[in-house]
C-alpha cells in the first residue's frame, strides 16, 4: 500500500485500462495521454518517466512500455551511495562493537569485585 506497483514501468492504463463499463478504446487512451502531455501536468520529482506517448508500442513483453522512461538516461550514483551505506554501516558496527566490549569489561570488573568481596568476608 505504501507504494503502488501499478506504476511499474509506467505500465498502467494503456493496455490494462479495460476495467468496468467505462472501457476506453485505444484511441481515447492515446488521446487522454496526449492531452495530459499538452496540459503540462506537473511530473514527479526525480521521476524517470516521461509523459505517455500514443506512438509507444503496447505489445512489449512483460509490461506496457507506454509512459516509461523510453531510454531516458537515469542517473544512478552507485559508488557514492554504496560508499555512504558501507561507511555508515562500518561506523555503526564499530561503535556497537566497542560499546559491547566496554560493557563486558565493566561486567567482568563487577563480577570480580563481587567475588573479591565475598572472599574477603
Amino acid at each position: 500500500m505504501a507504494t503502488d506497483p501499478c506504476r511499474v514501468g509506467g505500465s498502467y492504463g494503456r493496455r490494462n485500462a479495460v476495467f468496468g463499463p467505462l472501457m476506453l478504446t485505444s484511441g481515447q487512451e492515446s488521446s487522454a495521454a496526449t492531452r495530459v502531455g499538452v496540459a503540462g501536468v506537473p511530473s514527479r520529482v526525480g521521476s524517470d518517466s516521461q509523459p505517455a506517448l500514443a506512438s509507444m508500442p503496447a505489445d512489449m513483453p512483460g509490461m506496457d512500455m507506454s509512459g516509461s522512461s523510453g531510454g531516458a538516461a537515469v542517473h544512478r550514483p552507485l559508488a557514492p551511495v554504496l560508499g555512504t551505506f558501507g561507511g555508515g554501516t562500518a561506523v555503526v558496527l564499530l561503535t556497537a562493537g566497542m560499546m559491547r566490549r566496554k560493557d563486558r569489561t565493566a561486567d567482568l570488573a563487577k563480577k570480580a569485585a563481587r567475588a573479591a568481596g565475598r572472599s574477603g568476608k
Partner: protein
C-alpha cells in the same frame, strides 16, 4: 473535580467512573466476558509440531528468502534502469507486495519470521549487539512513528516515484537496511520490527484478521516455574523477538510465529489454533487509538492509490494546475494526499461522535474501539487493489526473471482476464464488507448490553462502512489508468 463533572447535570445518565468503581453494568459485564476461545491445537499434529520445534525453523526459510532478497537488491541497484526490464522491481512490487496482505490473512505475521531484515537484525545483534533496552519513547510512540513512516513512504513514492524506479526502490531498501542494522546493533531483540517497521504496523493490524493464533494455556502457565522462558528464552532458544509474553497475549498483532516460545516452554503450554478470519477482532478488549488511526490511514492510502490510477486523475491534476496556478506536483499531491488520508479519519471521527451521543462513551473511545471494525474492509480493499497488480501484471515476473536466467517470455503480462480480476476484486470487497459489519456487531454486542446503546453504536459505524465500501466499489468500476 474536573470541569466536565462540574458542568454535567445531575440527571446525566453518564456513568460515574471517578471513584474507580464501575457502576455501569455494561462495564462490569464486559470485564467478566471470556476472551477469544481457542480452537483445535495444530501442534497436536506431529508434522506441524516437528517443523516448528525443529532447530532449522525458521532459518531454513530465511536462507532462500534472503538469497532472493539479495538478488532483488542487486537488480534494483545495479540491474536494468527501466522498471520494465528489472527483475527486482517485478519481484518486489508485482509479486511480493501484492501477496503480503493475503499472507497476513492466511498465516498472520508469519512473513515477519522469515523476513530477511529480521535475519539481518539477528545477525548484527550476534556480531556486535549492545542489547540496550528499548527506549521508552519508542514503546510509547512506536505505533505513531509507524503511522507517520507509512504515510511518508506512500507520499514519497508518489512524489519521487519509488516503485517505477528500480533505483528508488533500491535506495528505500538501503535505508531500511541501515535502520535495521542500527537497531540490531544497539537495541534488544527485534526492536525495529516491533516498534519501527512500517510494514510491521500494517502486518500487526492485518494479522488480527489472520487465521492462525498462537496462545498459551493459562491453566498450565499458572503453575509454571520457569521464569517466563517463553518470553526470556533459554540457553539454547532465543527470547521472543517481538517482546510478546504468550501467557498474557490476546492478540496476534505482535506474534510472528517464530516458534521460539514453543521451543522454550518446558510445559508444552503453547498452542497454535486455526480460527475464522477476523475472529480476534470480535473479542477486542483493549483498543488503541493509534491502531484505529492506522486502519483509517490505510483506508485513505487505498483510496489515494485508486484515485491516482483512475483516468480522471490526470485531468484533475491539470484542472488544479489551471485553477491554482501551482505547477509543483509535490505541492498538489501533498494537498490531495492530506485530504485523501483525512477523509476516512474524519468520517470515523464523525461516526464516533454520533455514536457517543447514544452509547454514552466518549468520541475518543468510540474512535479507538470501532476503528478496528474497519480492518476487515481495509484488508479487503488492499487485496482487491493488489490483485490487479498480481494478476494483470504478474507476467512481468516471469518475463524479467526469465530474462535474467537467459529465457525469453513474450506473452501478455496479464495472468488472467480483466473480468476475472474484477470478479475477484468485488468478491474481496463483499467479504470485507461482511467481515467489517460482523466485527462491528460482535464488538458492540460484547461491549453493550442495552439494545439502545447497541443500536446507536451500530447505526453510524454501519453507515461509515457502507460509504467506504461504496467508494471502493465505484473506484474499481472505472478503468485504472496511469496518471502520466
Amino acid at each position: 473535580m474536573s470541569q466536565d463533572l462540574q458542568t454535567r447535570p445531575k440527571s446525566s445518565p453518564r456513568p460515574d467512573r471517578t471513584a474507580g468503581i464501575k457502576t455501569d453494568p455494561d462495564d462490569v459485564r464486559f470485564d467478566r466476558q471470556p476472551g477469544e476461545p481457542l480452537g483445535r491445537d495444530l501442534l497436536k499434529n506431529q508434522v506441524v509440531s516437528a517443523v516448528l520445534r525443529s532447530r532449522w525453523y525458521p532459518g531454513a526459510f530465511q536462507i532462500p528468502i534472503a538469497a532472493v532478497f539479495g538478488l532483488v537488491a542487486y537488480e534494483l541497484l545495479a540491474g536494468p534502469p527501466d522498471a520494465h526490464d528489472n527483475a527486482g522491481t517485478a519481484l518486489m512490487w508485482v509479486l511480493w507486495w501484492p501477496l503480503l496482505p493475503l499472507l497476513y490473512v492466511l498465516f498472520g505475521r508469519l512473513w515477519c519470521a522469515v523476513c530477511p531484515f529480521a535475519a539481518l537484525s539477528d545477525f548484527v545483534q550476534k556480531l556486535v549487539g549492545v542489547n540496550r533496552p528499548v527506549p521508552p519513547f519508542l514503546k510509547k510512540y512506536g505505533i505513531w512513528i509507524i503511522d507517520a513512516t507509512f504515510l511518508a513512504i506512500t507520499w514519497a513514492d508518489h512524489v519521487f516515484g519509488i516503485v517505477e524506479s528500480p533505483w528508488g526502490s533500491g535506495i528505500l531498501l538501503l535505508l531500511l537496511t541501515s535502520a535495521v542494522i542500527v537497531s540490531g546493533a544497539f537495541f534488544q531483540r527485534r526492536t525495529f520490527c516491533r516498534y519501527l517497521c512500517f510494514l510491521g504496523g500494517l502486518s500487526g493490524n492485518y494479522s488480527r484478521t489472520g487465521m492462525l493464533a498462537l496462545r498459551a494455556d493459562q491453566e498450565v502457565c499458572a503453575t509454571c516455574t520457569s521464569k517466563a522462558a517463553c518470553y526470556n528464552g533459554t540457553d539454547t532458544v532465543a527470547a521472543c523477538p517481538l517482546f510478546s509474553f504468550p501467557r498474557t497475549m490476546d492478540s496476534s498483532a505482535n506474534c510472528n510465529l517464530c516458534a521460539n516460545c514453543i521451543k522454550a516452554c518446558p510445559n508444552d503450554a503453547i498452542t497454535i489454533t486455526v480460527r475464522k478470519p477476523t475472529k480476534e477482532l470480535w473479542f477486542l478488549r483493549t483498543p488503541k487509538i493509534e491502531e484505529s488511526f492506522l486502519a483509517m490511514a490505510i483506508m485513505g492510502v487505498v483510496i489515494i492509490q485508486n484515485v491516482t490510477m483512475l483516468p480522471g486523475w490526470t485531468d484533475a491534476l491539470a484542472w488544479m494546475n489551471r485553477t491554482t496556478g501551482i505547477t509543483s506536483y509535490p505541492v498538489i499531491f501533498t494537498a490531495v494526499f492530506a485530504v485523501g488520508v483525512s477523509i476516512p479519519v474524519a468520517l470515523l471521527t464523525l461516526a464516533a461522535k454520533v455514536a457517543s451521543l447514544g452509547n454514552l462513551e466518549s468520541t475518543f473511545k468510540n474512535f479507538a474501539r470501532f476503528g478496528y471494525s474497519l480492518i476487515p474492509l481495509d484488508v479487503a480493499a488492499h487485496l482487491a487493489h493488489n490483485m490487479f497488480h498480481l494478476l494483470a501484471e504478474g507476467g512481468s515476473v516471469i518475463s524479467t526473471v526469465g530474462t535474467l536466467f537467459g529465457g525469453h517470455y513474450s506473452g501478455s503480462p496479464a495472468l488472467v482476464g480483466n473480468g476475472t480480476i474484477q470478479v475477484l476484486q468485488y468478491t474481496f470487497l463483499a467479504l470485507g464488507l461482511i467481515g467489517s459489519l460482523y466485527t462491528l456487531r460482535a464488538i458492540t454486542h460484547r461491549r453493550y448490553l442495552t439494545p439502545a446503546r447497541r443500536r446507536s453504536t451500530i447505526l453510524p459505524f454501519s453507515v461509515l462502512i457502507g460509504i467506504l465500501t461504496a467508494l471502493n466499489v465505484v473506484m474499481f468500476m472505472y478503468p485504472m489508468a496511469h496518471r502520466m
